[in-house]
Symmetry: C2
DNA sequence: AAACGTAATTATGAATTCATAACTCAGTCA
DNA sequence: TGACTGAGTTATGAATTCATAATTACGTTT
């Protein structure tokens, strides 16, 4: 028989992990904020047990921090964390780029080409929202093309952590243009199925993003953690 | 004041995550086996709540698999998982190697030299147990030298998953000699603080380990998942 | 005897309860 | 005024309870 791999019926805690992680990544729960266990239980209509289970896994993923007998707080997005996270993502993207070219099928390439075109359109229209979405989809598709769920999983978690920082650093015009150029090169190498080159470009692309983020952070908060004085 | 960073009093679920993960990695809980919730509660002297919390995070780490209404089973170590995991570890080790040379201080180098010597002694004495431990310590120290907790954390999790496979593949004499040679090169590059070269070697070292594991697996189970016939 | 159906049992997910640590905020004293 | 104290309140970690899905055991039918 076997109509489906496994019936998709998520348990409460699985559902909650997804939802809470989104709240954190989408900045609905602000860094440093105490996670309001009670409120969330009521608004989700669940008891504390599954919610606390979800918080435990979110903590292991680094989205919240647990303090014994003092509950959970949303993890801060620190400069140090970004400094550490980007290089790891870059390494994973490099690997993904190398592997993607081995397995990519025509439909996948077509889908990526399409999204790439939409991203260019969003750039032309200066539509940051749509640009981010298209950009994210492209990276995700490239990672997926590597056919490595372990890689995909770790990348997804790290990418989510970095995505939280988009509220801190606004894309500069220069960086935006540079990113577009990098994506053009990526598409070129992808069409040629040149994995090594694609990997190198994706790594550099990510390290440039890293640099841009750090520069933007410097502009806002030069002393890296000092309290800003107004 | 501040005598300690933070008082080290792990909550039950944290303690349980560590202990259960060790049981899985050390093969006390066998792949595919149902995790005996009740038994473990009794033997650890805790209620189901913290134990189940621990299982949730172990599941997110990939050490157990949860089936709704059907409890937890120890994750299988499949060929496919190994095929996927090794390249990711290799990518992380490459990054670690590159970074380690930037920050390594003399005491750290001395400690690694010491452990390296002990590893050579274990090799000479054909002491697999001690060899594995020294080897593991060296890799861990190199990762730590990169001063990147994110990298360290992800590497630790992946390394633990692969460590489970050591029961499946016995180190061949050839591979052992090759691994020793690779470690000699690593030490050389480390002394020279040649990060790029160290990274390359560590990556290759890991991919060679990967190949050795796969070869050993082939010898035991050529059809990759078929039931072996005796 | 094999296959099916059904009742009893067990195991699991989730809610609830409970003991205690942490926090709040008057009241006290320097 | 401002720091300290301690009762009262709240929040948290963990145990327990509860409803139900899954499994097992057993009987029935062919």
């Amino acid at each position: 028989m076997n109509l489906m791999e496994t019936i998709k019926r998520p348990t409460l805690h699985e559902e909650l992990v997804e939802r809470l992680r989104n709240l954190v990544v989408e900045d609905a729960l602000k860094p440093g904020e105490k996670v309001p266990e009670k409120e969330l239980c009521e608004s989700f209509g669940v008891s504390r047990t599954p919610l606390r289970e979800a918080l435990k896994v979110l903590a292991s993923e680094g989205f919240v921090v647990l303090h014994a007998n003092r509950g959970a707080r949303v993890a801060e997005v620190t400069r140090e964390e970004l400094e550490n996270t980007f290089p790891v993502i870059a390494a994973l993207e490099q690997l993904a780029g190398e592997q993607a070219c081995n397995y990519l099928d025509p439909e996948e390439l077509a889908a990526i080409e399409g999204r790439h075109a939409e991203m260019l359109a969003a750039y032309a229209a200066r539509d940051r929202q749509e640009y981010f979405h298209a950009n994210q989809d492209i990276h995700q598709a490239l990672i997926r093309a590597a056919r490595n769920p372990i890689l995909e999983n770790h990348h997804k978690l790290l990418a989510a952590r970095v995505r939280r920082a988009r509220f801190m650093a606004n894309l500069s015009e220069d960086r935006w243009a540079q990113a577009i150029a990098e994506h053009e090169s990526m598409m070129e190498k992808l069409r040629q199925r040149d994995g090594k080159a694609l990997g190198r470009i994706m790594k550099r692309h990510m390290m440039n993003k890293h640099a841009a983020h750090m520069k933007a952070l410097d502009a806002v908060d030069p002393a890296s953690g000092d309290t800003p004085d107004p």
